[in-house]
């Protein structure tokens, strides 16, 4: 898929994220909009996973550590054909499996996540199993920048480097906001790159909304043989909707009717600019 085709797809994904969050009157709007371009490139360019091979032991794995941005994942999985998109009309409804965090009850979801700091250790174990079995599959995990203070991430970062897991890639959705405020004000984790490098990882920075750059960067994995890879994706929370961008209140804010209409109009207008 060309960067322009991916860009068009992301507009559709953003419209669906908003549609189902608006319908459910719940969801993590800002973070889903900041990470959706990354998921788009992963599922439409990088990962060898789809409904046909999801049970195969050789598939690539995607584990979403920032589980609260499940709306982005659901929209992409529906588009890939893991389940009918209409299922998402039950988002957060009584007895629906489409709840506010990923669960394996939904086809295409690898692990139940939601508590932060869990995706990286599980991904390390999964990548280690590939090494033990001489399998070629790769493991990708998406972390929020706000979950980096969880100590389990750093425990797992040590293990990943110790076992030379160059089949493991962690991507940080670095939108620089968390529920309380700026990540740098809540608990400063900078410099993220130097920390991971000192832990034995190979690190790259990307613009998390630049499709070409995301494609090229993911194509170069692993960045260094025998080292796990970290991609720090610089993103904008609420990306694509003018009044949501970099605004804290959209962490889990839900648009009202008028705001929803404006957001859809902005996204429709964006198609013409591609």
């Amino acid at each position: 898929m060309t960067p322009k085709e991916l860009a068009l797809k992301s507009i559709g994904y953003r419209k669906n994220i908003l549609k189902y969050i608006y319908g459910a009157n719940a969801g993590h709007t800002g973070g889903s909009l900041s990470c959706i371009d990354i998921l788009n490139v992963l599922y439409n360019h990088t990962l060898n996973v789809g409904p046909d091979n999801f049970k195969s032991p050789d598939r690539d794995r995607y584990i979403q550590s920032k589980g609260h941005c499940v709306e982005a994942l659901f929209v992409v999985l529906a588009d890939k054909g893991f389940f009918p998109e209409s299922d998402l009309e039950t988002l957060c409804r009584y007895k629906s499996h489409y709840i506010g965090h990923p669960t394996r009850k939904v086809n295409g979801v690898e692990q139940n996540t939601g508590a932060l700091g869990h995706g990286l250790p599980i991904s390390v174990g999964t990548a280690l199993a590939a090494k033990m079995d001489n399998k070629a599959y790769r493991v990708f995990t998406l972390l929020g920048d706000g979950e980096l203070p969880e100590g389990s991430n750093w425990e797992a970062a040590l293990t990943a480097a110790h076992y030379k897991l160059d089949n493991l890639t962690a991507i940080i959705d670095h939108n620089k906001l968390q529920i309380t405020g700026r990540t740098s004000d809540v608990c400063n984790t900078d410099p993220i790159d130097l920390k991971f490098e000192s832990f034995g990882w190979a690190v790259r920075h990307v613009d998390g909304h630049d499709f070409k750059m995301l494609q090229e960067t993911l194509d170069e994995l692993p960045f260094t043989d025998s080292k796990p890879s970290l991609i720090i994706a610089h993103t904008v929370k609420g990306k694509g909707i003018s009044y949501m961008e970099d605004e804290l209140k959209w962490h889990h804010g839900v648009p009202n009717k008028q705001q929803y209409a404006q957001a859809i109009e902005e996204l429709d207008n964006a198609v013409a600019t591609l």
């Binding site: 692990q111 139940n112 250790p121 599980i122 174990g125 033990m132 293990t159």
Partner: protein, 324 residues
């Protein structure tokens, strides 16, 4: 002391030793068996395993949360994973990983809590696990097991290895004499094992308390002609309600004995069932009370709280004197 099995005298061992030996036998035949340790291969008696199967042991270092998360990832990719760490750290520090990564995600990790209960004795409360039954009983989708002797340990490990669901198994370090198998020589999870039968009362133990419960029953017979049934309730959750109902139906007293807080463990699990099914047998929970745990060796702590032959026998005499 030893047991005669198939005309061979088998020396008693610590359940922990039987665990590591059994795992070694299983690993010989199944290359997917993987042990994950947190600098605990020595205390888990897994040194020989590591030497024999270096490709089947993963060392994490002292990081229990990561131990359980990595174990879940390995299990999700088809490995038969035994995550081995002292019970005190495994079930407290890594509880969220057990709840989410193992139980909720149904990743079939076998969590092995070593040196459980007060096995670490004088190392103190940081090293005791008197909460593990309680917290794990409240977590959905994990079987909680405390084998009493070498036989139960071997069976539990072999059967758990072939299950596709999560388990927590805890062991101590003490040499455990073989319990009689003349009444029940089988082992399956969720089926309490009857060690001894008697008409006057029932003593239900789990793990390393079953042996003193059996000793107490022998003493009661010899000294007072009191006949006690003794049950090894190795599976704490799910509990063998059928067996419990059967002994409760006699109307005779029931005593539970566990190396755990009296809150939230075997005793309260039994009490909950009995009350909700209208059984009103005289009932006593023996365990570690809710207080600053007395200091000393495991044996001294057991004796202090009456989890001993004489302590359990005294409790039985008292409960039999109660009017009911």
């Amino acid at each position: 002391m030893g047991a005669i099995i198939d005309n061979v005298l088998v020396s008693d061992k610590a359940n922990l030793d039987v665990f590591s030996g059994t795992l070694q036998n299983l690993a010989e035949l199944d290359r997917d068996i993987v042990v994950v340790t947190s600098d605990s291969r020595g205390s888990g008696k897994l040194g020989p395993f590591g030497q024999k199967f270096p490709a089947q042991i993963v060392e994490i270092g002292i990081a229990e949360q990561n131990l359980v998360g990595v174990a879940a990832g390995l299990a999700s990719a088809g490995k038969k994973v035994f995550a081995v760490s002292p019970a005190c750290f495994l079930t407290a520090r890594a509880l969220e990983q057990i709840k989410n990564d193992v139980a909720y995600s149904d990743n079939p990790v076998k969590l092995i809590g070593i040196s459980a209960g007060v096995s670490y004795g004088a190392l103190g409360t940081t090293h005791h696990s008197l909460h593990d039954f309680a917290v794990l009983r409240a977590v959905n989708n994990i079987t909680v097991v405390a084998p009493a002797d070498n036989f139960e340990t071997e069976q539990a490990i072999a059967q758990a290895a072939n299950s596709n669901h999560p388990f927590y198994l805890r062991f101590g370090k003490k040499v455990m004499p073989a319990l009689p198998t003349d009444i029940d020589n089988s082992f399956s999870f969720v089926k309490g094992r009857i060690i001894r039968e008697g008409k006057d009362l029932t003593i239900i133990g789990t793990g390393e308390t079953v042996y003193p419960a059996w000793q107490a029953a022998e003493k009661l017979e010899q000294d007072y002609n009191i006949q006690a049934t003794v049950i090894s309730m190795h599976t704490i959750k799910p509990l063998d309600y059928e067996l419990l109902a059967r002994v409760a139906a006699t109307g005779k007293p029931i005593i539970t004995v566990e190396e755990h807080s009296v809150y939230g463990g075997l005793g309260e699990a039994c009490a909950s069932f009995l009350l909700q099914h209208n059984y009103h047998n005289p009932f006593k929970i023996m365990g570690i009370p809710d207080e600053y745990t007395v200091t000393g060796s495991q044996n001294e702590i057991f004796n202090h709280y009456g989890l001993s032959e004489s302590g359990i026998a005294d409790t039985a005499l008292k409960i039999l004197k109660q009017k009911h």
